[in-house]
């Protein structure tokens, strides 16, 4: 029998039991749609993380922090101070270091109030550390700022990302810091002046500038927050060589008696990458299970179909169809279910991923990260041809695997007995 005829015969058979075959197709569609949408979104997430890191970080930058990344270790009460940068600057291979003094403040800008992170930094050093992201789109980063100088991130001025601006250069901004002084709650406020508006950065930026950041001079921060303690010191090295990074990290840790952490961008990227890989694997495993369930569905339906069509199998054999052609005929039906289901699944999955993005179903997630180290992020699905192709291959392979046994049963049926079947 010609392949074309086998295909046509399969199409006519699928058309016969539309509901039942439709349900089998639906099973595959759901499985493939789940794979395509979830994998595209997780690729999107991975891409987001990668690009954000590449943008915000040069690999020769280190973060020195007192905050422990471990949940197990008891927190150290060791503190870093503003002038610890002098200690760090004396270590080999360190070209510069900048202390970052961060507090959460209430901000009033152009009639809107925010609760945001306010960062006290040395503008000059910070510019040198982040020459690509700490860049003004209007105004300029003052090299010798006065006490009221303020630089704001792009999203602070345009929270809806629609080009509207709350304030312009030279406008005032009220900064209120709530603290306790001798047990009493105390609100300290000062009026700053917007000197520069940062260019859009796009989000994640460990230790570096973010779109929702507000930057004031370090000296102003020390005075306003009434402290010399800093959470992090950013360090730039003369080389991004692995051995240089490692040696310098050790030297810095040793200089503070091992009480601080030195975080390398690579280490963070690696650990996020490994978390992402685990998530991707988990997602893939769940969706694979759903496809196997779909495969069992196909097998069930094909077995039922073969029982019902025993007589037809007898007729085909009586008319001279060879066993292997009978096998091909029934395998082809299972494959058709797989192919139709996979194609529908790819289309549905892509549509699902796009609509999750378009309808902002992940926005609660992204707004949740608005004021975290990730900054303002949006996950956009990333469609890779290889995902579509491998989904199709997987869908078809599942239907072939589960269709094989029913087809084999059909092929080895004895014509006389099959014809006698009512």
């Amino acid at each position: 029998m010609f392949i074309y005829d086998i295909l046509r015969y399969g199409v006519s058979a699928i058309g016969r039991r539309k509901v039942r075959k439709g349900l089998a197709i639906l099973g595959v569609t759901i499985g493939i749609a789940a794979i395509v949408s979830l994998v595209s979104l997780s690729y999107g997430f991975r891409e987001l993380v990668n690009t954000q890191f590449e943008q915000g970080f040069s690999s020769d930058t280190l973060i020195v922090t007192t905050e422990t990344l471990s949940f197990v270790d008891t927190e150290s009460d060791f503190q870093l101070y503003v002038n610890d940068t002098e200690v760090i600057n004396n270590i080999d291979n360190v070209t510069l270091s900048a202390a970052v003094l961060q507090r959460t403040c209430a901000l009033e800008i152009g009639g809107r109030e925010y609760i945001l992170g306010v960062f006290g930094i040395d503008f000059e050093l910070y510019s040198a550390l982040f020459p690509n992201t700490f860049v003004a789109t209007s105004g300029s980063v003052p090299s010798s700022p006065d006490n009221v100088s303020v630089i704001i991130g792009a999203r602070v001025n345009d929270p809806w990302k629609n080009g509207s601006a709350l304030a312009s250069i030279g406008d005032d901004v009220n900064i209120t810091y709530t603290t306790r002084s001798e047990g009493m709650i105390e609100n300290r406020t000062y009026i700053g002046r917007i000197d520069a508006l940062l260019d859009e950065i796009g989000g994640t930026n460990l230790g570096g500038p973010i779109d929702v950041g507000v930057y004031i001079p370090l000296t102003t921060a020390q005075e306003f927050f009434d402290t010399d303690e800093v959470g992090t010191i950013m360090v730039q090295l003369s080389s991004s060589d692995e051995s240089v990074i490692e040696d310098t990290s050790e030297a810095i840790e040793a200089a503070f008696g091992g009480q601080i952490q030195v975080v390398t961008p690579k280490a963070i990227l690696d650990s996020i990458s490994s978390i992402l890989s685990t998530i991707e694997l988990f997602v893939a495993a769940i969706t694979a299970i759903s496809l196997i369930v779909a495969g069992v569905g196909i097998m069930n339906i094909m077995l039922t179909s073969i029982m019902e069509r025993t007589r037809e199998i007898g007729i085909l054999k009586a008319l001279g169809m060879e066993a292997r052609t009978v096998l091909a005929v029934f395998l082809n039906e299972a494959l058709l279910i797989g192919v139709i289901g996979s194609i529908l699944g790819i289309v549905t999955g892509a549509a699902l991923a796009i609509s999750i993005d378009q309808l902002g179903l992940l926005s609660s997630f992204t707004t949740g990260t608005y004021n975290t180290i990730l900054g303002d992020i949006t996950i956009r699905p990333v469609f890779e041809g290889s995902v579509f192709v491998s989904s199709l291959v997987f869908g078809v392979a599942i239907s072939a695997t589960f269709g094989l046994y029913p087809a084999w049963r059909a092929a080895r049926a004895e014509p006389v007995e099959a014809l006698r079947h009512e």
Partner: protein, 229 residues
């Protein structure tokens, strides 16, 4: 002139197991069918006539004895070779055995499609055969839209599609009314006389014996009587 034997059985035995009870359907049948012959095997139900027909159609294998189709011992053939052999045999069943979702023409085309006949050729052939059996206006009707007699004529057209050397019929008139049965049998008789198609028909209907030139009476798996015109 030597008469060519196209179908032959020797001491043909077939034993079935019905549960654990052995049943002898055929107990040593010797039979020879010559080219162009019209043979009827008459017998009551349970006499083994359907089993005999299945043997002659290479659909079933004997317990002992031999079946030779066109000189080939069927028991020496592989499953695949038997399939290829069946393509040369036309068979008409009592219950039509048409494929319900295919229309009349597609049913007739089916054996041609199985034997890789090109599409246009088999379409033409199917149309010719449906015209021959008087169903040219019923080509695109499915079996459930056809009467019993029409269905059996489609089945006959299908059996004739591969230009078989012989035509086997199992109670071909069993499910159709007597008037339609007569028309069908007249057609079969014409095929035998004009196209020299060798025909073996098994039936319990004695009135059909008149069409055949030779009639064998089968009882309890044995040939008990032979009548030639």
């Amino acid at each position: 002139m030597a008469i060519e034997t196209v179908l032959e059985t020797e001491s043909l035995q077939k034993r079935y197991l019905l549960g654990n009870v052995p049943v002898d359907a055929l107990c040593g049948v010797d039979l020879a069918v010559s080219k162009g012959e019209f043979l009827t095997v008459l017998g009551p139900s349970g006499s083994g006539k359907s089993t005999l027909l299945n043997m002659l159609a290479a659909l079933d294998t004997p317990t002992s004895g031999t079946v030779r189709i066109a000189g080939t011992d069927v028991s020496t053939l592989s499953d695949s070779q038997r399939s290829l052999l069946r393509r040369k045999i036309g068979i008409v069943f009592q219950f039509f055995n048409l494929i319900g979702r295919l229309d009349a023409r597609e049913n007739v085309e089916l054996p041609l499609s199985i034997s890789n006949t090109p599409r246009l050729e088999r379409k033409k052939k199917a149309e010719e055969l449906l015209e021959l059996v008087g169903l040219n206006d019923r080509m695109h009707h499915r079996p459930n839209e056809l009467s019993g007699g029409e269905r059996q004529r489609v089945a006959l057209a299908r059996a004739l599609a591969p230009n078989p050397q012989y035509l086997l019929m199992d109670e071909p008139t069993g499910n159709i009314d007597s008037k339609t049965a007569k028309e069908l049998m007249d057609l079969v008789e014409t095929l035998n006389k004009e196209r020299e198609v060798t025909i073996v028909m098994v039936t319990h209907d004695r009135s059909l014996a008149k069409y055949a030139r030779r009639t064998l009476h089968l009882l309890d798996g044995k040939i008990v009587k032979e009548v030639s015109k």
